[in-house]
Amino acid sequence: MNIKILGSGCAKCKRLEQLTREVAIEHGINAQFEHVYDIAKIMEYPVLSTPALVIDEEVKVAGRMPSKDEIEHWLAKP
């Protein structure tokens, strides 16, 4: 599984990465993490605002912090 966090280094973005990593570890999911800081690369995805969570190149959420339950749901059903 490939997980990308799109963010410009804001606090929310870091928090999102931390939270997603926690969920992945708790459920024993083997995933590659990548934090995308480059604005030009972020804009290649159909998002207008950060933080955004991209799982296997699919945008799951953008512009807000998802709850832990939501992340668990996305990671469980790839």
Binding site: T50, G63, R64
Partner: protein, 479 residues
Amino acid sequence: MELFYAALQSGFASLASYLAAHVLLCLVPAFFVAGALSALVPQQSIVRFLGPDAPRWIAYPAAAGAGSLLAVCSCTVQPLFAGIYSKGAGLGPAITFLFFAPAANILALSYTGVALGADFAIARLVLSLSFGIGIGMIMALLFRGDDATRLANAAPFVSGEGISRQSVIFLLTLIALLVAGTLKIDLLTAQLTTFDFALPAALPAQQLLDRLLPVDAIKGNEGLSLQGVILIFLLMLIGVTALRGLGKVDEGFNWLTKLSLSLIVTTLIFAALGIQTTADGVMIAVTGRSIAVAALLVLLILLARRFEAWDLQQWLWETWHFVCLIFPLLIVGVFLVGIIRLFIHPEWIQAIAGTNTITGNLAGVIFGVFMYFPTLVEVPIAKMFLSLGMHPGPLIAYLMADPELSLQSILITSVIIGKLKTWTYVGFVALFSTISGLAYGAWVDGTPVAVLALLIATFVGLVIATLYFVDKRRSSITG
């Protein structure tokens, strides 16, 4: 050595009166509003009005709305600006957003209102709104050709959910608290009832404070009251408990969360009471403001209970994060302003910008462009200038130019939209800031609003008409 002590004393005086007078009823609620906007309002709920197909009369106001509601810190401004420009409504609304965000977000406006007066806050809002939209439209017209090819490549973006009614009500109550705590109207300042307490130590303590931090109306030193000392102490207590109580709230509520929240509620109510030292004790006055603040706090607690725990945790965490990001810089800024103030002679300021002239306004703009201050620090600096005798016109010119044209924003903008567009934008901001200052200054000096509005409308109309005409000529020549 004497100068050193005088400078230090001036710095502390500025910091003490700032903490006691401005922080509590203005900045504390404003930080909570900013946190709520960031945590409870999904960005998509406003951004969806900024899609590529959005009609112009929706896109421009929505861009301004996004600026004031979503973009409290610059880390949100950059991605949203890039997003609106390259994926959404295009160059014009993106520029409106960029212009409006730093000057008219909720923190900047409420702090301006408390430190400089409501008319400065309103002037800042109205002028940023009209000129933000104006500059956006001019830029869109100037670079219309580029925009068309760029938008052809744009992909649609994921649309999202709206904002819940519960969040709207909660936000409005928070804003009501901010207004009730700061607005200076008779209904709020009227004394309803007073209580006298015998406290013999009160008078000597107040006299000691007056000696340490003398009140000096000419220099703008506000002094420090006994109530102020207690408030500063409570504020420190809140800071200590919030460090873990709010800083770690995303891992769950702990006992320090409850303690720091109850401390904040108590402190806000205490700050809304009027306390004066009398000959043999203190007099506590209950005003309309005290009642309003207490009632709104109770309402907020009731409303907050209906939210899911996760939303509340997000709200408190975002709030605390804004405090950590902005507050330390503000404290250092206010302290330094207090020191610098000692070395600036009022005559200099009065000679350069004491009257509402074009040179005076230009001086305000140039100072704003070349000096970079962190978020909100422009407000205490403006306050210093005002007390040194700067005319309100050039002051507004400075307040318009400083947050818009920091080095940082110029760099961000040029990475995203290119150098030519950026410098055009910078030129327009400098021009319009000068005009803002002149207009506001003229209004303060007694020119009727209608005349000014007519003059500004004529000027903006002329600029747009010229650009339109030039554009027509150019397109008819090329093809």
